[in-house]
Each structure stands twice: as C-alpha cells, then as structure tokens.
C-alpha cells in the first residue's frame, strides 16, 4: 500500500470507528437515570445533569 492510502485508511478508522467509540462512551458515561436518582453534585433536583 502507498503511504497516502495508509494515511487515508488510518484517518477513516480514526473518524468512523473513533466516532463510534466516542459516542458509545458518551452514552455510557451520561446515563439518564442520574437525574432520577436524586440530586447529583452541581445539579438541582430534577434537572438534566449535562444539559447546556
């Protein structure tokens, strides 16, 4: 494979598979029920912790 092709391959992997990893991680670390389980640090009751 040429250097250009390898670079494009790595960029595609980073952006697409990386995108999946990042969005999955976000979903797992920002679950909804945090708001329902009572006040968490820095949030008011019933608000959504990471909105805004």
């Amino acid at each position: 494979m040429t250097a250009t092709a390898i670079v494009m391959m790595l960029v595609a992997i980073a952006l697409i598979w990386g995108g999946l990893a990042v969005s999955l991680r976000y979903l797992l670390t920002h679950p909804l029920h945090a708001a329902e389980e009572g006040p968490t640090s820095g949030t008011t009751p019933g608000s959504y912790p990471t909105r805004g």
């Binding site: 494979m1 250009t4 697409i16 976000y26 979903l27 959504y48």
Partner: protein, 542 residues
C-alpha cells in the same frame, strides 16, 4: 371520515423495549443491512476512494444523524406508528405515514427474496455448487432468468428458502417487540459481527489483499469537485441508515417516556458507518486477491457492487481460495443475518400501522402482513423474471419513494409547520446531550434542498433514458406502477376510519407538562411524580 365510534376496549400497554440497549441493538440491526455489505464498498471506490471519506462524513453529520434524530423525536413524542404520528401532527398529513408504510411494504416483498438467494447460496458454498461460470449459474441455472416480462413460473430454489424466511419472520413478529424483534436482534447482531469479523480477518491474509485496500483507500481528490460524488455520499447515508420511511419512527415509539435519544442516535449512526467501513476492508481485500489470482489490476475488475458482487463475483473468488467453502458460508450467512434484522424492522412498520389503525392484535397483524407480502414476493420475484423486476422496483422504492417521503417529511415539519424548535426541545428534554440550532437548519433547509436536487437528477434521467435498458412498458409496470401503488395506498388507507382512539393522544400532556412538574417539584413530590410517570409509561398510548 365516518362517525363510527370505536367500541370501548381495554388498551393493552404499548409494547416497550426491555432496555435502552435493546433499542440500540434493534436500531443498529435495522440500519446494518445488505447495503452496508454490498453497496458501500463499491460506491466509495467509484466515488473518489479515500477522498470519499470527506463527502461521506459530511453527509453522515448533515443528513444521517439529523434525519435519524428527526425520526426519533417524531416517533418518541407522538408515540405511534408512522400513520398515527403524522395524523397526530395534523389530520391531513396521515397519508405521509401511510406512504411510509407502503414503501416498507414494497421493499419487504423483494428484500425477502434476496435473503432467500443468500440462504440458498450459503448452502451452495459448502460444495462450491456454482462451478466455473458463476454468472451463468446465477441467472441461468439458479434463477432461470427469462426475458423481462410478467410471468408466473415459480423457481423452486427460491421458493423454499423464501417460505422458510416468511415462517420465521411471522413467528418473530407475532412474539412482539421485546420477545420477538428485540430477541432476534440480540441473537443475530452479535453473531453477524463475529462472523463478519472472521471473514474480514481471513480476507486480510489473502495474497493481494493489500493491493485491494490500496485501491480502496487511495484518494482521488479531484472527485470532490464532482457534484455526483456528493450526491452518491448523501444517497449512501440515506439508504443505508433506514431513515425517513417510518422504521426509526416506529422503533422509537416503543421507547419509555424518558429515553436518552440524542446520544443513542449518534451511536446508531456511527455503528452503521463502522460496519460499512469494515465491509470495505472485507470486500476490497477479497477483490485484491481476485485481481492477484487473475493477474489483472483491481481497477479492471467489474461487478463490484450489489447483486453482481454478491452472487457473481464473490462465488468466483470463493472458488479460487483455499478454505473457500468456509469463507462462502461466512459471507452469505452474514448477508442473511444482516438482511433478516432489517427485514423485521420493515415488517414492524407495516404491522404497527395495521394494529393501530384497525385495532387488531399483533398476532393477527403479523399473519396478515407476512401473508400478503409473502404471497406477493413469491408471485412477483421468485419467478423466472424475479431479478429484472427486483432491480426496477428497488430503484423506484429507494430513489423515488424514499426520497419523496424524505422531502415531504422535512418540508412538513420544517418550513410547513415550523415544528423543529419544538422537536429539538423534545430531544433536549429527554437527552443528556444537547442538540443545537444547527439541527433546525440541517433538517429544515439543507436536507430538503439536497434531496430535491438529488430527486431532480434521478427523475430527469428516468424520463430521458428510462432505467437499466429495460423495455419502457416493463419499467412502467414495475417502476412507476410500484410508485403509483404507494401513492394510492397512502391516500386509500388514510380514508379508512381508525378503530383505536388515535386522536386522544396529547403530546403536551404526556411529555411536556410531566417534565415541567418534574423539574419544579420539591423532592418528595418529585418521587411521587416519577412514580406516576412510570405508570404512564406502562399505560401506553392515550
């Protein structure tokens, strides 16, 4: 409209996914289908190779994710099948929902046939039954293809696997959302991933694989100046992600009232694209091996997309490689699994609509839907004319039907009713990630414009030169005829009275006031409110 009052009946609770992950699996299972495996690699290669990544990612973020989130917000906020959702938005929009149902219905009839071929080819793989002339075997010996004309000579090799698919699909649908659709995805999606990963790893170790990948990833930056390449990227995202024709609306209507919609949308979209990229590796490594065996350049190979890739080119490569039968079973088995989870999502669109419109139980709906689509698939596509008819119907269902549905939907909720701020607020109320104003612009302006341009180009070509060299009358019957059917069905079904209290649903009461009560309430009341809301979730549609 008739004034017939529906008989008072106990409403069963709306079905619900057993967990957010059950929904994600089902959504990904629906999005990952035949198009990921056999369409993406060839499209990317023909449209700039590595450079295709640029329009592809733009299309993913501008069209894919925003329209997916639009589907989610509509299905989740209005909690119903497509026709119910659009009727709740405004009575005169109900036909758009039925148009979705009709598109799904049409696609089901031929999609199942391709699965039947894939099942048969999984068996053919074991002893490489296709021999040396794979093209002649597929169209001649297997499909017994005749001239493009209507006939009723059913091909046994297609009929029996097709029957098996319909039996399994009917059972899955009858078992419902959790024990049927979700369970099937929980089993098939991990299995598909494992099988396809095994196939890709094997392909990477074939001689010539790196030449194939080299061809696939080498960028042709000049392609980016070509409008056709951008349209190809938007089309690929559109047709691959199962958006804008009711599937994601229907699936998201089974989510509980509190669901993390926005991040889930990103996960679904990127999972779908991730599978496409994986397929790019598998397909082009394999094509590299084929070129290596034949002593030609990868660029000289033909039949690198769709039916030709899967049922003509791949059998040829499989015959060339050591351990070919195993590779063949992995490849065709993957097609079957990927396609089946997409098929049941299409069936759910039709089944949910019939259940809600006619107040019938899902077991009855399941039998009606699989029975009619099954019969049509046998009559229309398992005949000696199946391949031609399928090709034409596929073209019109996707590039005419879905594109028109998407244009209509984005125009209605965007410029027409100006609902996007409300829907965006809905997404933000139910999500731990915030969707910004960019979404309104993407959905309301960029997408309709892009889609109208795409459709204009398709329509001009269809009117000027017909399609695929088929006789005009043939394209008229199977292409324009299928489209006419969708339109007639859309208005015809809208005229039939509902047997369930579809208009009693109030999204403001169910969602917004409940949310406000939750935010404003002091702690003890909040707990009480939450309990009441979860009861509401159990209570289903109201």
């Amino acid at each position: 409209m008739s004034t017939l009052k529906p008989p008072p009946k106990e409403h069963a609770a709306r079905e619900q996914w057993s967990s957010p992950y059950g929904f994600i699996l089902a959504a990904v299972g629906s999005a990952v289908g035949l198009g990921n495996i056999w369409r993406f690699p060839g499209v990317a290669y023909e449209n700039g190779g590595g450079a295709f990544l640029v329009p592809y990612l733009v299309a993913l973020l501008v069209a894919g994710v925003p329209i997916l989130l639009l589907d989610y917000s509509l299905g989740h906020r209005y909690r119903g099948s497509s026709p119910a959702v659009f009727r709740r938005i405004g009575r005169r929009f109900e036909p758009l929902g039925w148009f979705h149902v009709a598109i799904s219905f049409v696609i089901i009839t031929y999609y199942a046939v391709i699965l039947a071929w894939a099942i048969r080819y999984t068996m053919f793989s074991v002893n490489l039954a296709w021999g040396d002339d794979t093209v002649g075997f597929f169209v001649g010996e297997y499909l017994q293809l005749g001239d493009p004309a209507f006939n009723l000579d059913v091909v046994g090799g297609v009929f029996w696997p097709l029957l098996a698919i319909w039996v399994v699909a009917a059972i899955v649908m009858a078992r419902g959302v959790t024990r049927g659709v979700e369970l099937a995805n929980r089993l098939f999606l991990p299995l598909l991933t494992i099988m396809f990963l095994a196939l890709v790893v094997r392909a990477m170790f074939l001689p010539g694989a790196s030449d194939g990948l080299n061809q696939f990833f080498t960028p042709n930056w000049g392609a980016l100046a070509d409008a056709g390449v951008w349209i190809a990227a938007f089309s690929q995202i559109f047709f691959s992600l199962s958006i804008a024709f009711g599937i994601m609306i229907t699936y998201s209507s089974y989510l509980p009232r509190r669901s993390n919609l926005a991040p889930t949308g990103f996960v679904t979209a990127f999972a779908n694209s991730s599978f496409e990229l994986l397929a790019g590796f598998g397909v082009f490594a394999t094509l590299g091996f084929m070129a290596f065996q034949q002593g030609v350049g990868v660029g000289e190979l033909s039949g690198i997309k769709g039916v030709a890739l899967s049922f003509m080119t791949f059998p040829q490569v499989i015959s060339m490689m050591p351990g070919g039968p195993v590779f063949g079973v992995l490849f065709f088995g993957s097609l079957v699994l990927a396609g089946f989870t997409s098929l049941i999502s299409l069936l759910q669109v039709v089944s949910a609509a019939l259940q809600e419109k006619f107040g019938i139980r899902r077991q009855v709906a399941s039998l009606v839907v699989t029975g009619t689509t099954g019969l049509l698939s046998v009559v229309l596509f398992s005949t000696t004319n199946g391949l031609n008819a399928l090709d034409v119907v596929d073209k019109f269902a996707n590039e005419v039907g879905i594109v028109i549905a998407a244009i209509a939907m984005t125009l209605v909720v965007g410029l027409g009713l100006r609902m996007l701020p409300t829907l965006r607020t809905h997404l933000n109320r139910t999500s731990t990630a915030r969707v910004g104003k960019w979404w309104d612009i993407a959905v309301g302006i960029v997408n309709p414009l892009m889609l109208i341009v795409m459709f204009g180009i398709t329509l001009a070509a269809l009117l000027r030169e017909g399609y695929g060299g088929y006789p005009t009358s043939f394209v008229g019957i199977f292409g324009w005829g299928a489209f006419a059917f969708m339109v007639v069905a859309a208005f015809g079904f809208s005229a039939i009275p509902w047997r369930t209290p579809v208009d009693d649903f109030d999204p403001v009461r169910v969602h917004d006031r409940a949310d406000d009560a939750l935010v404003d309430a002091p702690e003890p009341l909040r707990v009480e409110t939450l309990e009441r809301l979860s009861d509401d979730d159990e209570g289903g549609r109201r």
